[in-house]
Each structure stands twice: as C-alpha cells, then as structure tokens.
Symmetry: C2
Subunit: 128 residues, 2 copies
Amino acid sequence: MSSDPASRPNGASVLTAACPSRQALALIAGKWALLVIPALDNGPLRNGELLRRIGGISQKVLSQTLKDLERNGLVIRADLASKPLHVEYRLSELGRSLSSALIVVDRWAETHHAALAEARRQFDDRLG
Amino acid sequence: MSSDPASRPNGASVLTAACPSRQALALIAGKWALLVIPALDNGPLRNGELLRRIGGISQKVLSQTLKDLERNGLVIRADLASKPLHVEYRLSELGRSLSSALIVVDRWAETHHAALAEARRQFDDRLG
DNA sequence: CTGTATCCGTCGCGATACTG
DNA sequence: CAGTATCGCGACGGATACAG
C-alpha cells in the first residue's frame, strides 16, 4: 500500500490484508458495475437506453447500481428537468479511468469464453 | 459477439444481452477471484500461503474459489503427494492472460480508493 | 497442512406493483 | 420516462467442527 503501484513488478503482493482498496474492489465485485460502466464509456445514456443495452438487468438493480456509482463519484447524473422526464448518466473522469480497465476485462471475457466452456466440459467429464 | 473485440473502438456495445460472455464474467463477479488470480501471478502458491497473502478470506471460500477456477481452466492444482500434505496452485496460460487484465483493475483500486472515499464523503454530506 | 461438512445469517437481485 | 416500495428466494460467504 505504501509504495507506488506502478513501480511494482507484475502482480506483486497486491491488496493483501484489510487495506482500504478492498472497498474500491467491492464496487466492481457485483455482477453489474462491470457492465454498466463500460456501457457508458461512449457517452451519456438514459435509464431506458441502459436497460436495453445491458440485457437482463432489472430496473431496480440498475437504479441501485447507478446510485452506488454516483455516490462513489464514478457516474454523474444529469437531470434535464423536462416533461417527459429526461435523465442522463455519464462517466466522470474517475469513472472513465476505471472504464478503460474494465473494458480490458470485458474483452477478455468475450475472447476466452469458449475456452472456459471447453475447460468446464473436460473437467466435468472426468468426473460424473 | 461476431466481430473481433480488438477491432472495436473503446467500449462500443460490449457484452449486451445474454451472450455467453456473461458466464465468463460470472467468474470475476465474486469478491475473491479478483484477488486470488493476481496473487498467483508471480508463481505457484500453497493453500496456507494464499490464506495469508489474501487477508480476510476463509478456508472454505478459498477452496471453493480455487475449485471453481480450476474447473474453468484458469488454475492448475498440483498435488505433490507427500506427508505432510503439499499442494500447489498455479495459473494456466489462460489464467495468466486474465491475471494481467485483473491486475490493472487492482492497481486502479489501489490508486483511486482515496478519491472514491472522498466522493462518498461529499455525497453523504449533501444529504443526512 | 489441506481440505470437506454443516449451520446460518446476510444481501444481491428478480418480479411485481405503484408514484411523480 | 424515471424511479421507489415491497416481497421473497437463493446464493455468497463467515464460523466452527471434523477428516485425510
């Protein structure tokens, strides 16, 4: 924790014990932040738009996720007071810096999901 | 899903709907894979060693996490049949490719956890 | 040392219905 | 359109005890 992360060799003793970085990771641990943040990477989106882009998320959980991200300064909520209601969510500077890291993870998932599935198949075969 | 992820501009429409990549993300969604995988990045570690390096994880959850990662072909379990028991866990090729992505996220958490805390403080202040 | 088994609380999250 | 309220299930995960 005390030394500059960038000065360390790859993956050396990172995030051990109860250092406050764990709280930061809790933001990402959920299923959805990993999808919501990159979804906003290209520009502001509205609630409904997010619901459609991210399939499978419920309105409630999207609200919760956005509120949590807003609370942590990653997402900025812009309420264009109008009728019908119009609210836009966009990434803050901080949010964008996280997004670029998460996008790498998402890309990894896209690229390797087949390999994972195959590994599972083999593993389960060898048992019953 | 059909196009090469690397050919896409940053964060464009990734992982929408129910594409199989979601299963891959489920591996990471938990609290612990994010810590266990980078911990193994520098070389094989034993059960007890992992318990110490990653503070706060229980024996049971570590076992579950490792088994799940092994099942998905990310971690290789080497049982050096000996007494006292000696088991080593190391990353597979696939695991290492994921690790490099996760390390970026971990570093982000280390670097920005203070900013997040500050954002939370301000946000909570503005309410009650 | 390296696990598994059991108990059990918490919370993530989905479904549905309702409000501004 | 945006968002909250309520209900409820099931998975995550912690504590403890036990086993090879």
